[in-house]
């Protein structure tokens, strides 16, 4: 008689998609639950399963959930906009920031005319940063501003301009 092995708990979304047995120490299982099949499907389509597993191992366990969620966000952005992905959203936000800084400068000049005090022009402690990309990785070889000029998929970018936690995973 064939021995009855204890029935394992349901496979994670990754192992289901990859059609393999989900082991107790499966690296994907904590982050790709079986009730979120599309999350892994998107990540797999853009990054590939073996890359994801290599990428996950690089960070400590306590940071992996955030990493997975950010990968899922990037994958979703790339699938919606295959040309620009998240970079399109960044370019759009950067343009919005530049416009806001311009508007704020004008408003402060206007206010200064009423108050007639020189210190009212951009000298407050809560001054808005003028260089939003001070921390952008150096040596990228291309500036995001060039994307701002060439972008032709911006109509779809508004969907990406949202809080990280608001992106539905289905």
């Amino acid at each position: 008689m064939r021995s009855q092995e204890p029935r394992s708990t349901s496979s994670c979304a990754a192992c289901k998609l990859l059609k393999r047995r989900c082991t107790p120490n499966c690296i994907f299982a904590p982050y790709f639950r079986s009730d979120e099949p599309k999350k892994f499907a998107k990540v797999h389509k853009v990054f590939g399963a073996s890359n994801v597993s290599k990428i996950l191992i690089e960070v400590p366990e306590e940071q992996r959930e955030d990493k997975v969620n950010s990968l899922a966000y990037e994958a979703e952005a790339r699938l919606k906009d295959p040309v620009y992905g998240c970079i399109g959203a960044i370019a759009l936000l950067q343009r919005k920031m530049i416009q806001l800084q311009h508007d704020l400068t004008l408003a402060r000049v206007c206010l200064a005319r009423y108050t007639a005090t020189p210190s009212a022009i951009g000298g407050t402690n809560d001054q808005v940063m003028t260089e939003p990309f001070g921390d952008f990785p150096a040596g990228c070889g291309g500036s995001i501003e060039s994307f701002s000029q060439n972008i032709s998929y911006e109509l779809n970018q508004e969907a990406h301009v949202c809080c990280f936690s608001e992106i539905p995973y289905v």
């Binding site: 990054f47 955030d66 990037e74 970079i87 920031m97 408003a107 206010l111 995001i144 301009v161």
Partner: protein, 150 residues
């Protein structure tokens, strides 16, 4: 000829054909560009992504893949999403400041346009102060009187 291979084919150690999908976007003089992209996405995924696009959009796509890969290498946890968060926060702060400044302008404008109203407001404030003074003076007198009877 091996010297004609693109950065991708050199890295993957394969022959670079005339119709290589990588060669226009990963030239041999910038090997790091392909290494970054391959490390995050994998050559096969990059190839599929580029193949799905019309040729005139592939250069931009390759550039954006490279930028995203660089972001991810610099910030392994959040990648380019970290930049999006940062920008959203900065935008929120800038919008708040703009609203505040515009409100201040509105108040200043109103006061400048209606100096009579401003004078009336000032007179009313002065009247309130005077009444308060009177009340305090009467109270003090009452206290003196009442203390005098004790």
């Amino acid at each position: 000829m091996s010297s004609g291979r693109c950065a991708a084919c050199r890295y993957l150690r394969r022959r670079c054909t005339g119709d290589c999908i990588f060669s226009p976007y990963f030239p041999s003089n910038n090997p790091q560009r392909f290494v970054s992209v391959h490390r995050i996405y994998g050559a096969s995924n990059v190839s599929k992504l580029l193949q799905r696009l019309p040729p005139h959009l592939r250069a931009e796509a390759a550039d954006s893949l490279y930028l995203e890969a660089q972001c991810r290498l610099q910030d392994p946890v959040y990648g380019s999403v970290g930049l999006i968060f940062q920008l959203q926060q900065q935008i929120h702060a800038a919008e708040s400041q703009l609203v505040k400044t515009q409100a201040e302008i509105a108040v200043m404008k109103s006061q400048a346009q209606h100096p009579q109203a401003r004078q009336a407001e000032s007179d009313f404030s002065n009247l309130l102060l005077l009444q308060q003074f009177d009340n305090d003076a009467n109270l003090s007198f009452s206290n003196q009187v009442s203390s005098g009877f004790n």
